[in-house]
């Protein structure tokens, strides 16, 4: 694999960005097609690398050294790319889903006045995302990390005139900055202790035991990894920083599908797996991750049960699924976490794009109470949305089942029974809200306003083709990693593929494990049956009952009967209100104090200093009188100063 191909992967989306950003007005729709072509090219290379690695033919890792960026004291920051199995997997699905979303946007954004601006942002996003995935050192990764954050901000606030959209963008940015702070602190600590920021060098140094901080200070390692995880909670929307993701739905729906479901929000999981050998050294952090992740999955899942806005349901679902991914990492099942990232990209991408297709057809109505019966008018969208729901709900044998059940089993076999129970309940939630959304939107009687209903039609091929591809992926992506229980792991291609990446971490975990993980084929099958039954009965069955059969009377009766529980879910646990009162309120108080300090202390000092500078300047101007004699005198004074200084010192 020549390195030029690897460089091309991020370069092509950058080309799309430059073309649409600078020459958008001239290119118009051609610019969009150009972007689709560029992204397709990247996807082709990504697929070659991934399948080449999976089936042999390409050997990892591939190191691509680009150039030296800047010297910083004793070290020089190099720009380089590093491709191993994990990178290859990420490259494949990021470029693949991106290409489909780009194509979809050709239909969704057609006629939008900011068409080329949109594609420029998308191109920049993909460039940053690919730099994030490819970067061989933390600074390069961080450039991508910040880049995707910037693009996320720009795209959430894309509809500048829409009330709330710019604010949602700001919220995402600010909340992410809190996480970035953690990431930066972790980077400083790594640099101070290891002396390098190259990821592979860090891992090698830590593994060799050459770094005393990692050998002797559990507190150091725990704090460092917790700071890293704080960064991940920002980017990947975990408690306590998940509040920005639901608001991010103010952006165009293709953006929600690409950035806020399939790719960017999984960057945190990627980071944890990339540095898994560090996390494995800190059992306290691992436990924290598992608990936070399970709590996030549960809370977000419970909120998604009752939301009326179709995109909000999917947004909370994303938060919940990200919780599953981190839960897997927290119990040491890194490959299972990454595989869930992989399948999630397909089914959640499919669901979001399906929702977009519906919203597009319904003239931007997003409230599911006003939809219903759309299956007859939009058969392709309905079918693919059903595929996505099947994938998300974890029905045998579709993609979500393959990845989620492995996570559930690994949590159980690790002995974390409480977390397992929470995850199992969340699985029921998942199946419920997935099918509730499907039934409310596509089945039953139409509740659309008449003038809108008249215009509802199936979307153009540019939108349905990506839907079909992702829908099939949502059903079939599980084949890449058939549950190890079936066939004793012989068909777990992804597990084998990623094994070299996570081997060091797993070795550390195995060495420090206090108890043997539970190995029991019968138990595994039993739990699988339990989770399937739970998903089918408590999830799909109840959804059918309340969102279709008994809707709306039965549903509202049920809501009344559940009273407080329903309100907790519907009002999202009052999380935003809590932050508004305690965090934002505290910050406002701090801001008030700072203002007073600024006005009376800082300004006072400043005016004094500025006054001094100004009078100094006047003085200099006074001597600058235009007389050559005066200037020569100054030189003479300078000569004396310099010579006498030297002679005096000697």
């Amino acid at each position: 694999m020549s390195s030029i191909w690897i460089i091309l992967i991020p370069l092509l989306p950058l080309l799309a960005f430059v073309a649409n950003g600078l020459f958008g007005r001239a290119l118009q729709r051609t610019g969009g097609w150009l972007a689709v072509g560029c992204m397709g090219g990247s996807a082709l290379i990504g697929a070659v690398i991934f399948f080449g690695g999976l089936f042999g033919g390409i050997t990892f890792p591939i190191q691509v050294d680009l150039w030296q960026w800047m010297p910083l004291g004793d070290v020089t920051i190099r720009i380089g790319f590093y491709v191993d199995q994990l990178t290859a997997l990420m490259l494949f699905f990021v470029t693949f889903v991106s290409t489909l979303v780009f194509l979809y946007s050709m239909g969704y954004m057609a006629g939008d006045p900011g068409f080329n601006r949109f594609f420029a942002y998308l191109g920049l996003f993909d460039f940053s995302m690919l730099v994030l995935v490819l970067g061989d050192s933390l600074p390069v990764l961080f450039v991508g990390w910040e880049g995707v954050g910037l693009c996320s901000y720009l795209l959430i606030g894309y509809y500048l005139a829409m009330p709330g959209a710019p604010d949602a963008g700001k919220k995402a940015f600010i909340v992410n900055r809190i996480g970035d702070f953690g990431f930066l602190v972790a980077m400083f600590m790594l640099f101070a202790s290891v002396g390098t920021l190259n990821i592979q060098e860090i891992l090698a140094a830590v593994a060799s035991g050459a770094v005393p901080e990692f050998q002797y200070s559990a507190a150091f390692v725990t704090f460092l990894t917790l700071m890293l995880f704080l960064g991940c909670t920002g980017k990947s929307a975990q408690i306590p920083l998940f509040v920005w993701l639901p608001d991010a739905m103010a952006g165009p729906t293709p953006v929600s599908a690409l950035i806020h479901a399939a790719t960017m929000v999984t960057a945190g999981v990627y980071l944890v797996v990339r540095l898994s050998a560090l996390f494995a050294l800190a059992p306290a952090t691992m436990l924290t991750i598992a608990i936070v992740a399970a709590a996030t999955a549960f809370v977000a899942g419970s909120i998604a049960l009752t939301q009326k806005d179709i995109k909000k349901v999917l947004a909370y679902s994303t938060v919940s699924q990200l919780g599953y991914m981190f839960l897997a990492c927290g119990v040491g099942a890194f490959t299972a976490g990454i595989f869930h990232v992989f399948t999630h990209a397909f089914f959640k991408g499919c669901l979001f794009l399906g929702a977009g297709s519906v919203i597009h057809a319904c003239h931007h109505i997003q409230d599911m109470d006003q939809m219903g019966g759309l299956r007859r008018k939009m058969p392709a969208t309905a079918r693919t949305f059903l595929f996505g729901s099947l994938g998300l709900a974890g029905i045998v044998p579709f993609a979500g089942f393959m990845s989620k059940d492995e996570i559930l089993w690994r949590v159980f076999s690790d002995g974390k029974f409480i977390l397992y129970a929470i995850a199992l309940v969340t699985a029921a939630f998942t199946a419920y809200y997935a099918f509730r959304a499907y039934f409310l939107t596509f089945e039953g009687q139409s509740r659309l306003p008449h003038d809108v209903e008249h215009h509802v039609h199936e979307s153009p091929w540019t939108m349905t083709l990506p839907l079909w591809i992702l829908g099939i992926g949502a059903l079939a992506a599980g084949v890449f990693n058939i549950l190890p229980a079936f066939g004793h792991g012989h068909y777990s291609a992804i597990n084998h593929f990623l094994a070299p990446v996570v081997a060091p971490a797993e070795a550390i975990l195995a060495a420090h494990a206090s108890h043997e993980p539970i190995h029991s084929f019968a138990l595994e099958i039993l739990l699988m049956i339990v989770s399937t039954v739970v998903a089918l009965v408590c999830g799909v069955g109840l959804a059918w009952l309340f969102a279709y059969k008994l809707w709306p009377a039965g549903a509202s009766r049920m809501a009344r009967r559940l009273g407080p529980l329903y309100r907790i879910s519907y009002h999202r646990w009052w999380w935003d209100e809590f932050y508004n009162v305690f965090v934002a309120g505290g910050l406002k108080l701090l801001a008030l104090i700072s203002t007073l300090f600024d006005r009376f202390v800082i300004d006072g000092v400043l005016h004094t200093v500025a006054g001094a500078a100004r009078s100094g300047s006047r003085l200099i101007r006074f001597f600058q009188n235009g007389q050559v004699q005066a200037y020569a005198l100054a030189i003479l004074v300078g000569v004396n100063l310099v010579v006498w200084l030297v002679l005096w010192y000697q």
Binding site: W67, Q624, I635, L645
Partner: protein
């Protein structure tokens, strides 16, 4: 005699860019006489061709051959080419090309005689290339004087403008005054060591047979001579008057190319002094004082300047002060010479890029844009691109990331911190805080203020192609060399 021949021919080859510029300069002067008046506009293209050929000679003829063999010694060690010189020569040529590109309309409007202007410009660039490479006392002096004389004429070339003549005269008088000190310093150093070639002087210094007091005074006096050319305080006082009076295109060359050549030459001198263990004694203190004075005088002095060119002159004084900070460090810490060299080299590039932009905009705006900053009010609506370029230059000069100005300054002060001169770094950064005020004022004027009266308004000007190209290329460099911070090494 036979064994000298290959060395001379090799030297001729190694100084090919300089020879090309001599031929081009004389060629332009001759063409000026031969060409009919109507086709004299060709002269600017002719001189651009000369610079381009010199550039090709430097990078594609001499460069590839010499790169493995760096450092090169030509003419028996009189000229030396190393990494710093190679970079400085590239920057000087680029600055020369930029000045030629923004000149045609400016020169035409002021009826400046084209042949003399372009011919002398090429010869000035040639002298800069030679000065940057000089490592022999008399060669340094000759090249410095050659450069000075061409610049005196270029300053006073606008003979219809009294201020131009006044500036040239001041420049000439004070320049001669400073040159006397330089020559005296050279005499002292020669007297103390008995050698004029740097490598021979270094041997004497290492042996410790030099006359220490004589040598110290000699270095100090040479520092005065260089300090004048680099407009370091307190030898700076001519600079605001000269920059204001000289044609803006000339001023931009004085502020960039001259200084780059001077920095390279001064660096060699300080590198030499660093080899002398006693020099650590007092010389660093003198240089420290000069650096500090320049940073303070430059930044404080610019605060109340209403004239854009005078403001830029003070700014240029301050930037000279920043640039010699690593040289102060390396006098005491010879182990940091490589770091200091990298920092100075990168800052030369950074300073040139942003200063050219800052002078380029007034030059392109023409008569109205050359005097009061207040006249820039509302520029962003009439000439958005020019306003943007000017704002970019100001932001970079302030040293705000992610522009080249930030990374350049960062490297300079990083060397100071490495060499335990933390106070120098702190004072330098504090002084540059003051600079934010006057740079930002230009941006505020352009973007947020409206012209007070109709007469204050700058006429809106259409950019012609070459101007736009020069400004765009320079703006791209502000970011390009941030991303590729080590590619400026040209593979060395």
């Amino acid at each position: 005699m036979n064994d000298l021949y290959p060395q001379i021919s090799a030297s001729l080859f190694q100084t090919l860019p300089i020879l090309v510029l001599i031929v081009a300069g004389i060629g332009v002067l001759v063409a000026d006489v031969l060409l009919p008046r109507a086709s004299r506009w060709l002269l600017s293209w002719l001189s651009l061709l000369g610079v381009a050929l010199a550039f090709i000679a430097l990078d594609f003829v001499v460069g590839p051959a010499g790169r493995e063999a760096l450092p090169l010694h030509s003419y028996f060690g009189v000229l030396r080419s190393n990494y710093l010189v190679f970079l400085a020569q590239n920057v000087i040529l680029a600055a020369g090309a930029f000045v030629i590109l923004i000149s045609p309309r400016y020169v035409g409007e002021r009826r400046i005689p084209l042949g003399e202007y372009y011919g002398l410009l090429l010869l000035a660039v040639m002298a800069m290339l030679a000065l940057a490479a000089s490592t022999e006392l008399l060669t340094v002096f000759l090249n410095l004087e050659l450069l000075s004389i061409t610049l005196y004429v270029l300053t006073g070339i606008e003979n219809r403008n009294l201020r131009s003549g006044e500036a040239a005269f001041k420049y000439f008088l004070l320049g001669s005054f400073a040159a006397a000190f330089l020559l005296l310093g050279i005499a002292f150093v020669f007297g103390a060591t008995g050698e004029t070639r740097y490598d021979a002087i270094r041997q004497v210094l290492v042996d410790g047979t030099a006359q220490p007091r004589l040598l110290a005074i000699g270095f100090c006096l040479m520092l005065v001579g260089f300090g004048f050319k680099l407009s370091l305080a307190p030898f700076h006082m001519y600079a605001p008057d000269v920059y204001e009076g000289a044609p803006t295109t000339t001023a931009s060359l004085i502020a960039t190319g001259t200084k780059v050549a001077g920095f390279a030459a001064l660096f060699h001198l300080i590198e030499l002094a660093a080899a002398w263990s006693d020099a650590a004694g007092g010389l660093w203190l003198a240089l420290y004082a000069v650096a500090l004075a320049s940073m303070i005088v430059g930044n404080v002095g610019a605060v109340v300047q209403p004239n854009i060119k005078r403001m830029l002159a003070y700014s240029s004084i301050a930037h000279s002060g920043y640039t010699i900070v690593p040289m102060v460090v390396m006098l005491q810490r010879p182990d940091l010479i490589a770091d200091a060299r990298d920092a100075v080299a990168y800052y030369m590039l950074a300073y040139t890029v942003m200063t050219l932009l800052a002078f380029g905009v007034p030059a392109v705006l023409g008569p109205a844009g050359e005097s009061r900053i207040a006249q820039y009010a509302g520029l962003h609506r009439r000439s958005p691109m020019l306003a943007f370029v000017m704002a970019l230059a100001m932001v970079s000069l302030m040293g705000i990331p992610p522009t080249i100005g930030f990374f350049g300054k960062f490297q300079l002060f990083a060397v100071a911190v490495q060499g335990d001169h933390i106070w120098l770094a702190v004072l330098g950064v504090l002084a540059s805080v003051a600079s934010v005020y006057y740079y930002l004022r230009v941006i505020v004027t352009m973007y947020m203020e409206e012209p007070a009266t109709a007469g204050e308004e700058l006429e809106s000007r259409r950019l012609d192609g070459v101007n736009a190209f020069a400004l765009t290329a320079c703006s791209v460099c502000v970011f390009l060399f941030v991303v590729f911070q080590s590619l400026y090494l040209f593979g060395v």
